[in-house]
C-alpha cells in the first residue's frame, strides 16, 4: 500500500528525520493560510500515488499566500498521471546544495533488505547509470550498524559532518523500514542544505499483509471501485478492458486462463483469482461480481485441489436460479469431486469442459459472435 508523500514525511519527522516545514491542505484557502504560516516562498505539491508529478505540472512554487491559493486551485482542478488530486502539501522552499538518493527496499532474489543510495538524486533512480548507484544488502539479523553507514558514506564519497549525519540517518531509515513493515522507504531527493540532510520527498510503501499490526497507518485506497468490492469479498481481482469475464482458482491458473484466451484471439475483461479453496459462497459472490461488469461471455476455469467441483457447480446453479445469468457461460471443471460437479451441471442443462484450451477457444468463439 503506497502512502501519500505527506504521510511518509509525518512518519519520517516522527523518527527525527528532518523534513521541510509544511502542512497537508485540501482547499485553496487552507493553502493560503499554510503559506502565510510558513512564510516566504512555498512549494505546493499535489498528493497523488504516482511519481513524475513535477513534469505533469503537479508541483508549483508560490511567493505569497495569494499565489499559493492560486496554485492550489489550479492543481486541485487537474489530474496528475490520470489521478484526481484530493489533497496538497504546502511546504517551505528549501535551499538545495546537492541532491542524493536513499532507499531501503526488499531484494526478493537475495531474500533480504537492500539499501540503495546514489549521489545523483533528484531523478528517477531507474535513469541513474549503474556505476553511480551504491547497493548494499542488509543482513536482517545484523541490522544497520555504524560500520554499514561508514561503508555507504565511503562509497558515496561523503566525509566529515555529512558522513556523521549519514551514520545517524541510515539506522533511522532502517528502523522505519522494519517498524512500519515497509516494502519501500525512499527519500528522493535527499537534499544537502548547509550542514545537514533534509528529506525533500518521501515515498513509503507498506506491506498490505502487515496492515493488521500497523494500526496507526490509515488505509490508502488505490483500487478501482470494482477492484475494491472484490477485495472486500476476499477475491484477487484486476480490471482489464476486454469482454470475456474470467473466474479461475489460483493466481497462476488465472493468469494462464487469460493467456490462453488471448492466444485464441479473445480479450479478457478481468483477472479473478477466486482462491485455492473457494467454497460455494465464494464462488457465488465471484459470479455476482463478474455479472456486474456486464461481460459478453463468462468463463469459469477450475482445477479442483482444495476447491471442490461440486461446490462450484452448485454455486453456479444457485446463482442462475436466483437471478438468471443473461450471458453465455463456459465452464471447465477438473479435479476434486469432478464427477459430481459435472453431473450437477448436466442436470441443469449445462455441459462442462474437461480440457482448458477447448473451453477457452469456445469462450472466444462466443465472444466474437
Amino acid at each position: 500500500m503506497k502512502l501519500f508523500e505527506y504521510m511518509g514525511k509525518e512518519i519520517f519527522a516522527g523518527y527525527g528525520i528532518k523534513t521541510p516545514r509544511g502542512r497537508m491542505v485540501q482547499t485553496p484557502d487552507e493553502a493560503a493560510a499554510a503559506a502565510a504560516e510558513i512564510g516566504g516562498t512555498v512549494v505546493v505539491k499535489s498528493q497523488v500515488l504516482s511519481g513524475k508529478r513535477g513534469k505533469a505540472g503537479g508541483i508549483k512554487f508560490a511567493d505569497n499566500p495569494d499565489q499559493a491559493k492560486q496554485a492550489a486551485s489550479e492543481i486541485l482542478a487537474m489530474t496528475v498521471q490520470g489521478l484526481k488530486v484530493d489533497c496538497l502539501l504546502v511546504e517551505e522552499k528549501i535551499k538545495i546544495d546537492r541532491e542524493f538518493y536513499l532507499a531501503i527496499t526488499i531484494d526478493g532474489a537475495a531474500k533480504c533488505p537492500v539499501l540503495i543510495a546514489s549521489a545523483r538524486g533528484g531523478m528517477d533512480i531507474e535513469e541513474v547509470p549503474e556505476e553511480f548507484i551504491v547497493k548494499q544488502h542488509i543482513d536482517i539479523c545484523l541490522e544497520v550498524q555504524p560500520y554499514l553507514a561508514r561503508e555507504v558514506s565511503r562509497r558515496l564519497g561523503l566525509s566529515g559532518a555529512l558522513a556523521k549525519e549519514m551514520a545517524r540517518l541510515l539506522p533511522t531509515l532502517y528502523k522505519i523500514f522494519r517498524e512500519k513493515d515497509a516494502e519501500l522507504v525512499e527519500i528522493n531527493p535527499l537534499v544537502i542544505s548547509g550542514e545537514g540532510f533534509i528529506a525533500a520527498d518521501a515515498k513509503v510503501i507498506v506491506d498490505e499483509d502487515a496492515l493488521y499490526r500497523q494500526k496507526d497507518i490509515p488505509y490508502v485506497e488505490d483500487r478501482t471501485a470494482i477492484e475494491k468490492q472484490a477485495h472486500d469479498l476476499g477475491l484477487a481481482f484486476v480490471e482489464l478492458d476486454g469482454n470475456i469475464a474470467v473466474m479461475a482458482n489460483g493466481a497462476g491458473m488465472s493468469m494462464g486462463t487469460l493467456d490462453t484466451l488471448q492466444h485464441y484471439g479473445g480479450k479478457p475483461a478481468n483477472f479473478l483469482d477466486a482462491g485455492g479453496g473457494t467454497g460455494m459462497e465464494g464462488t457465488a459472490r465471484a459470479l455476482e461480481l463478474l455479472l456486474a461488469t456486464k461481460p459478453k461471455v463468462i468463463i469459469i476455469n477450475i482445477f479442483g485441489g482444495i476447491t471442490r467441483c461440486d461446490d462450484v457447480a452448485n454455486a453456479f446453479v444457485q446463482v442462475k436460479k436466483a437471478r438468471g445469468i443473461p450471458v453465455p457461460v463456459v465452464i471447465r471443471l477438473v479435479g476434486t469431486n469432478e464427477k459430481e460437479g459435472v453431473q450437477i451441471l448436466q442436470e441443469n442443462g449445462i455441459e462442462a469442459y474437461r480440457i482448458m484450451h477447448e473451453a477457452a477457444a469456445k469462450a472466444v468463439e462466443l465472444a466474437q459472435e
Binding site: 526488499i106 493466481a251 493468469m255 479435479g335
Partner: protein, 287 residues
C-alpha cells in the same frame, strides 16, 4: 531418488487439529506420507487418526525423528511457528500459509540460513516426491512417479501441468512449489541444481510467472545444465503495474515482463511452451 523428501521422510504437522490442518493431514496420510506427529499448543496428548498430537515441536522431536514440518498456521502466528520448527532442529519447513508479512518471511529465511534449514514457501502448495511423500495440499490423484522434475511458483497452474503430464504418461520425480510471495525460502536455481544432481530426474519443467527476476536468474543456471528444461511462464497478457494475485506477480518499472523472461530462457537453451497443455508434446520430443 527424488529431491528434498522421499519415502523415509518423517513429517510433523503444525496446526494439525485445525480445519485445514486436519483435512490435509488425512489427505497426506492417504498419499502415504509418514506423519509422525502433529503440534497444537494445548492439545498435547490428543490424536488424529492415530497420529499423536504434541504441545510443542520440541516435544514431537523428543518423541520421534522429525525430518520435516508443514505449517497450517494463520499468518500472524506463522513466524513463531516456523522459528519453533527451525530452533527445534527440523531441517525442512513447508509453509503453506499465505499473506504472511514479508518482513516475517525475511526473518524466517534468515534464521533458516543460519541453521542450515530449507524453507519451502511461504504461500506454497508444498512439495511432492511422487509415490513417496507429499507435504502440502495438492490433489493426490495427479501425482504419479516418473522422470520429470517440476518447480513452480504457483499451485493450481502446477496441478494443471502435472495433470497434463500424468495424462500423457509422464510421472514426476519431485514437484516443488517455491511459493507465490516476494521472499521465498528456495529459488528456481536452488531447485534446478538439485534436479540436475538427482539421478531419477531426466527433464525439468519450470513453471514461472511475470514479476521479479527469479526466471532470469534461473536462465543463467539453465545454460550450464545437462538435462533438458521446459518453461511455461504465466502472465503474458498481464498489464504492467497490476498485482496478479500473487504478491510477486507484478511488472514494476518495466521489469519482470513476459517477453524478457521468455527471451533469456530461450537463449539459455530452455524450450518455452506457449500454453500449459503444450508441455507434454515438447517433452515427448525431448525424452
Amino acid at each position: 531418488m527424488a529431491i528434498i523428501i522421499d519415502e523415509n521422510t518423517n513429517v510433523i504437522v503444525q496446526g494439525m487439529t485445525g480445519n485445514q490442518g486436519a483435512f490435509h493431514t488425512r489427505r497426506m496420510l492417504a498419499y502415504g506420507t509418514r506423519i509422525v506427529g502433529g503440534v497444537s499448543p494445548g492439545k498435547g496428548g490428543q490424536s488424529l487418526d492415530g497420529v499423536p498430537v504434541y504441545d510443542t515441536v520440541f516435544a514431537a522431536v523428543e518423541a520421534d525423528r522429525v525430518d520435516a514440518s508443514v505449517l497450517f498456521i494463520p499468518a500472524p502466528l506463522a513466524k513463531d511457528a516456523a522459528f519453533e520448527a527451525i530452533d527445534a532442529g527440523v531441517k525442512t519447513v513447508v509453509i503453506v500459509t499465505e499473506h504472511i508479512p514479508v518482513h516475517d518471511a525475511m526473518e524466517i529465511v534468515a534464521l533458516a540460513r543460519r541453521r542450515g534449514a530449507t524453507i519451502i514457501g511461504p504461500n506454497t502448495f508444498g512439495i511432492v516426491s511422487s509415490g513417496k511423500c507429499k507435504i502440502g495440499i495438492p490433489p493426490n490423484q495427479f501425482f504419479v512417479p516418473g522422470p520429470v522434475g517440476v518447480v513452480a511458483r504457483s499451485g493450481t497452474l502446477t496441478y494443471e501441468i502435472v495433470g497434463n503430464l500424468t495424462a500423457n504418461g509422464f510421472g514426476q520425480s519431485t514437484v516443488v512449489g517455491l511459493g507465490g510471495d516476494r521472499v521465498n525460502g528456495l529459488t528456481f536455481v536452488d531447485v534446478l541444481k538439485m534436479f540436475e544432481q538427482d539421478p531419477e530426474t531426466r527433464a525439468v519443467i519450470l513453471v514461472g510467472e511475470i514479476g521479479g527476476n527469479a526466471e532470469e536468474e534461473a536462465a543463467v543456471f539453465i545454460k550450464t545444465m545437462t538435462k533438458p528444461v521446459i518453461a511455461y511462464i504465466a502472465g503474458k497478457s498481464a498489464p504492467p503495474g497490476k498485482r496478479m494475485g500473487h504478491a510477486g506477480a507484478i511488472i514494476e518499472r518495466g521489469k519482470g515482463t513476459f517477453d524478457g523472461k521468455v527471451k533469456v530462457l530461450q537463449e539459455a537453451g530452455a524450450a518455452v511452451a506457449t500454453l500449459p497443455f503444450d508441455v507434454p508434446g515438447i517433452l515427448k520430443e525431448m525424452l
